[in-house]
């Protein structure tokens, strides 16, 4: 898997590839995420047609606080890639990739539900696991593990 083309095409929007335990991660600017995803899905040599997983990470109290992580798999080539987009605490918004991979729909809803990260242009951004009237986003690090909410 050669990521040089990708870096030439997207310039500074794409970070240096990091390899750990044989897995490659790539940091991406949030502004380029949809264009980049479309490119790596359609590019013959990369062909990431299968979005395995999409999830959030909260690195509180570090800044930038949130990450959205995409795990991609290529059915044709059998290789994997991880994309990571950092988001600031004050503005946890990112463009939805539901237009690139349909499967992102429920993943993004879950990420919104549990982290409060909003996905722009998502067709139906509602809570998915928790009830609609639930307050807060429980996978945030400042959400307590147990205890009762004061009335």
């Amino acid at each position: 898997m050669n990521l040089d083309d990708l870096r030439a095409r997207f310039g500074s929007a794409v970070g240096e590839p990091v390899t750990f335990r044989g897995e490659t991660s790539l940091a991406v600017d949030r502004g380029s995420i949809v264009a980049l995803c479309e490119f790596i899905r359609d590019d013959e040599a990369l062909a990431f047609d299968f979005l395995s997983d999409l999830c959030g990470v909260d690195r509180h109290p570090a800044a930038p606080r949130f990450e959205v992580v995409y795990h991609l798999y290529s059915v044709r080539h059998g290789h994997r890639l991880r994309l990571k987009v950092a988001l600031e605490e004050e503005d946890p918004v990112i463009d939805s990739v539901t237009g690139v991979w349909e499967t992102a729909d429920w993943h993004e809803r879950e990420c919104f539900d549990l982290f409060g990260i909003r996905f722009r242009n998502h067709p139906d951004l509602r809570r998915i696991l928790l009830p609609d009237d639930f307050e807060g986003h429980p996978l945030r690090k400042d959400f307590p593990l147990e205890g009762e909410r004061k009335p």
Partner: protein, 389 residues
């Protein structure tokens, strides 16, 4: 055509939804105009709980995801931690893991077969399938002391070595199992009612499956032979001989055929694993993640201290992140672990195949009859504990 549709709640308390799935159906007569799945009734916050436990303590949580194949979850999780830690697992342990994962796949498919056929009005297969599943549960119980939640795998290996009893019981099971599958097939494969209820129902082609992230038997039934045991072998799967059954039509019937043939293949793999079982250690002794042997604790003070440290504080993997996926009975089951170098995971994300596969439901049932909804939900083979986590 009437202008008005009827809203009907299917579930969350309905036997054919296999747990607590709720689907709000919009019906025109018996035809499904639209459907809205509603999930989350079984959300226990397992990912949040995992962030507050040591890596060893998470193993028991994984049993409670897909409780019909607890050992597959154990396997995916321990493989992820081992990758993070860089632990090389002894070959004997890898073989036992393969045997257990395949027996678990058979047990899971048997439960699916029995309940799915029962949903569609065929009661007999349930009794046949649960008879064999009971034999497997006995094997797990003898091995681990628990039927549904064995928690038998450990970071670096197994909870204990296996003995001749296990090997003998797996041999006895695999000796007769192919003939048992023939019995199930006699009941269903050419049965006109079964074919009528399942052929051409809930069709998804391979392209649709991939766009929807659908994996496992559902994807393979559409003619795409993608199986992570072959595509990205883990735990020595590359040393075993087996076929990847695939269908063609991508309908409920082909999903049945694929799972039936998978059970036969799994029995072959489990047999190979016990027949070719290597001698040697069953855990990566000496690794900082592995508990010292019980025997050592009686006369070695450093072992006691290490044991105490692992229990009270836990181990500290290097900072970094890994994603490890296995082929569970339902598809790609992945664990994404993020470590900040501390004794607890910064983040643990489960990629549950049931959750993702369920997304295809609406596409499969729109425009079909209400009775087909039951067939389609059964053929997705969901476990709600995994969907909701």
């Amino acid at each position: 055509m009437s202008a008005e549709t009827l809203s009907l709640n299917l579930g969350p308390q309905h036997p054919s939804t296999h747990g607590v799935l709720r689907v709000v159906l919009e019906l025109d007569g018996e035809t499904v105009v639209d459907a809205r799945p509603d999930i989350g009734f079984l959300h226990r916050g397992i990912e949040k709980l995992a962030e507050n436990r040591t890596y060893h303590q998470v193993i028991v949580l994984t049993d409670r995801l897909d409780y019909l194949s607890a050992l597959s979850n154990n396997l995916a999780y321990v493989l992820a931690v081992e990758k993070l830690m860089g632990i090389e697992v002894p070959r004997r342990a890898r073989y036992v893991r393969v045997a257990l994962a395949e027996l678990q796949r058979i047990a899971s498919h048997l439960f699916w077969l029995g309940t799915h056929a029962h949903d569609l009005g065929a009661m007999t297969p349930l009794f046949y399938a649960l008879r064999e599943r009971e034999a497997l549960m006995d094997i797990f119980e003898t091995l681990a002391g628990s039927r549904l939640t064995p928690s038998f795998l450990r970071i670096g290996g197994l909870a204990a070595d296996i003995d001749a009893r296990f090997v003998d019981s797996v041999r006895a099971f695999t000796d007769t199992f192919q003939a048992r599958v023939d019995e199930y097939e006699t009941l269903l494969t050419q049965n006109p009612i079964w074919k009528h209820r399942t052929k051409g129902v809930g069709v998804l082609d391979a392209g649709q499956c991939i766009r929807l992230g659908i994996s496992g038997p559902m994807l393979r039934s559409a003619g795409m032979p993608l199986d992570l045991r072959k595509a990205q072998p883990y735990s020595s799967y590359d040393e075993f001989h087996f076929e990847i059954p695939a269908g063609k039509a991508g309908d409920v019937y082909d999903r049945y055929i694929v799972r039936i043939r998978e059970m036969r293949e799994s029995a072959r793999i489990a047999r190979q694993a016990v027949d070719g079982l290597p001698e040697g250690p069953w855990t990566a002794a000496g690794s900082p993640a592995v508990f010292p042997a019980k025997d050592e604790l009686r006369h070695n003070i450093t072992a006691v201290i290490r044991h105490f440290g692992l229990v009270m504080e836990g181990m500290k993997p290097p900072a970094g992140e890994v994603y490890q996926a296995v082929e569970s009975p339902r598809g790609e089951l992945g664990f994404y672990l993020v470590s900040d170098g501390g004794p607890r995971p910064l983040r643990l994300k489960v990629r549950p195949p049931s959750f993702v596969n369920l997304q295809g439901l609406v596409k499969m049932i729109r425009g079909r009859l209400l009775a087909d909804v039951v067939a389609v939900i059964g053929a997705v083979d969901i476990v709600l504990a995994e969907v909701d986590r």
